[in-house]
Amino acid sequence: MKNFEYAAPRTEQDALALLSPRRDEVALLAGGTDLIPLMKKMILTPRRVVNLKNISTMRGVQRLSDFIVLGAVTPLDELADSPHLEPFPAVRQVIANLGSMQMQCQMTLGGELCRRPQCWYFRNGYGLLAQNGRLVEQGDNRYHAILGNEGPAKFVSASRLAPPLIALGAQVRVLGPEPDQQRWLPLEQLYRIPRSEEQRELTLLPNQMITHVRLPVESARWANASYEIKHGAGPQAPLATASVAVRMDSAGMVQQVRVVMGHVAPVPWPSPEAEQALRGQVITPEVAEQAGAAAVAAATPLSENQYKVQLAKTAVKRALLLAAGLETGGL
């Protein structure tokens, strides 16, 4: 790790003032479980590290009239325990899947949403795009993207909470660069597929930060669930995930639905195709299977990750079955 200057501001405005318009000059520190390993490997060598965890306005869960507001530095165990999150099994299941209690207490919501890709070329210092995608394409891409991978970015978006939160219609509050600049952005707009090494997987400017995430109170009435396909109980990223949120009428007919896949593309991957297949249907194993198939119909697997197509399809199917209160089958 390279030496750095350390700041621990107590207000959002103080934090903002410490940021820099130059990329990678300043790093935001939340739980640190992603940032510190990258700094130790000198993949990131910030001149200054700004710890956000002392900013009390950014911590905790609050219910307002239209929204449930989650502070960005709230640790995940606090989220899981909050009564306001009870109607959101899609989120709680993912936190529970994280397994280790220490990690749940250390990781924060904002850090989890902003964690860098786990792509092993990136983590070994070959750059986010790994020589414009060439290394991944011709190398070991067993864990890489099967969708949205036409450009040079082949990694998969790392966040596990983004798919359920996007499915539930979450928004993020982005602060900066100017002290009075703030806006609420649909969470999916935080992510993008970079076209060049200078671009990043997040649309945030280097001198912006996320202070809060909010969920519409209305979404609490939607049936929702997440299904993550993991290899073992260890800390490795899931192989493919899906989150769904569904509004059904009294007969169980799907009125509105959001299907978002994770770990299949450089961004959390909403599937309008699956949603299309579900609208006006009652969720049955057959309908869920069809929705899963629709979700991966356009997949473009790389040389070593054909199997992920099957996994993504199964994740969608099982998330839907869970949301509908049906048996998912499987292990």
């Binding site: 790790m1 390279k2 030496n3 390993p37 130790k40 000198m42 397994g99 786990q118 092993w120 070329y121 983590r123 070994n124 210092g125 070959y126 290394l135 011709q138 190398g139 070991d140 067993r142 396909i229 993991k230 290899h231 073992g232 109980a233 260890g234 800390p235 490795q236 192989l239 070593e304 990750n305 054909q306 199997y307 099957q310 996994l311 199964t314 048996e327 089958g329 499987g330 292990l331």
Partner: protein, 735 residues
Amino acid sequence: MVKLDWPKHGEAALLGKRHSRIDGVAKASGAAKYAYDIVEENMVLARALGCPHAHCRIKSIDVSPALKVPGVVAAEALKKPGDEIQWQGDLVAVVAGETEGAVAEGLAAIKVQYEILDVFVKDDDLEAAQKAGRTRRAGQSTKLERDIPEDVEDEEEWEEKELQRLFDQCDVVVEGEYGIPVITHMCLEPHGSTCVWEGDKLIAHLSTQNVSGTPGQFAGPLGIPVTDVTVHCDFIGGGFGSKFAADVWGVAAARLAKKLGRPVQLMLDRDLELKNAGTRPSGFIKVKVGADRNGVVKVWDSHHWGTYGIGGGVVSQGVIPYVFDPPNRRRRATGIRVNAAPGRAWRAPNHPQGAVLSQCAYDDIARALGIDSMEVFIRNLPTVSNGKADVYREQIEIAAKLMDWKAKWHPHGKGPREGSVVTGLGMALHTWGGAAHNSTAELKIHPDGAVEIFLGSQDLGTGTRTVIALVVAETLGLYPDQVRVNIGWSTYPRSGPSGGSTTVGGVSESSRRAATAALNQLLQKVAPKLGVPAERLVARDGRIVDAQNPETSISWKQACSLLGMEPIVAKGEYRRGRTKTNLSSSQVAGVQMAEVAVDLETGVVKMKKFVAVQDMGLIINRKTAESQVLGGVIMGIAYALFEERILDPQTGAFLNAELSDYSLPRLGDVGEIVVHLYEPPEEYERGVVGLGEPPVISPGAAISNAVCNATGVRVPRLPLTPKRVLDALARAQKG
């Protein structure tokens, strides 16, 4: 005179019972100090710089910029211009400094120019390796029932025809490809040491399996007499065969410490640990097996390849086919040189690979014939090469009962399906030597009754310290906590390196011998006092007792007070092959059975139950013996389902050289494990046999066979990840 022999079966006070480790509390509470925990006053930290390229030549190297970093106190190149580097992470330089941060910045400041050379890492691809000129023939051997006729000119051609003839006579012929990739040792405590000089004498606190054997490895390169080096290791955070040497980084630490006149701690970082400090060689095989309609194998023909890293080499021919030795066989082997660090011994060298490469093929015979796999294993027992057919037969019977095999069995791929989940059974069997290594012990009985023993041995976490205490306490009629066990210093009497399951035999031999000799000296003193000939005296329950008249006795303390001022000092020595013994022997069998569930939609394999039946001669500590088997099985589940070194095919970079990327199971992944220690009286009579290696051998084959039984499809290569399972299912579906 008490006899050297172990107490008669059933008469031991301590041996064979369950004992907690004497160092258990120290370990659980954190009081136990590993090499990594040793912090000396005024110590500096050192770390190494790994080469980023897998194959290159050093054009220039300049460590001086590191010295300009505040806090850096020393920087040394380990390579010079012109040196060729053959794997990513090979150590190029070391830097010492006051803080971890300073050292890291120092390492980053070092300027090295490399000339990049061609990389080859595809150890599974024989054809590509041949094209790249990376192969080396590693022998061929053929055994046929028929002698070659004298008039034959081309013997190879005749053998080829004879094999063909034999295959033609078989009722079933199976052709298969199987494989097991390189894995790392993944010691929780990486390799390294804390080196301290006292004048011209070096003390190396080294994480090692080889306390007595490593001083010379420091002395040689440092150019000092071996008498000036002391190696110390009380606790080691994993070795598994990778920690026998001082290694370049150990010597580098000693050099830096000398130069600076300050203690230096140099431990490898996780990625350098995985890149340099130990891997298990891979094995891949193409095999053709022919059997009769009962599944009895008549002929075997195979070619296997794989890598030991840059040195070439391949899994030994001797383990192909494994345990079973059919009447006719031809085996060939080819080593592949890849740009990776040389392999090191990994718990039961060659055997886990042998089991996977051979016994998956035997299971595929069962699949082809539609008969119970267990039957096929039983029917082939007459051909086992270690003379243990009867032991295997009994062990299979026990394992089958514990697994409820008969009730659960279904032919391959024909079991009930629940949703997308199928279950299956698989088995494998193994063998290992485990003979005692050379060991010397010195035991002292003090006039106040205190007992201590000294051995230049080490406790790998297997419970060696406790074994020594138990043997001495059993011999002297004391409790284990009355024996002070001193190991872990090279200044103690020489004992062998802990590898190949040789330690428990070795230290039991020397400890028993030393304790018996010391006791006999004590009995000589006690005899006149009690007025009983020494021959009639025995030590038990903390007393010296007249065996014929138990009323006549004296407490241990009183007995020892007869020594006056002089403690008894006795030596026990064991030399393999030279010392006549019935305290220890060698050769074990062992049978394991696995039950798995497979999700056909996700390819996820889950362990349901695992049964391990293991012989080990005389059991000294039942608790740690079981623990060894449990640990071996878990380590086996790890390489069967999770572990694999992944090298980038283009750059040769070790892509998953961090704990965050290197898959390992967690407790939730290992399922129910049932351990049965096989110990009819004949086993006790054999004396002590090592146990470290055997239980880790069979899991790969047993689990692969179970997955095949569940799905009806062979997943040819370990680990059985969702990708491999789904790919195999998809291939099978395509036909």
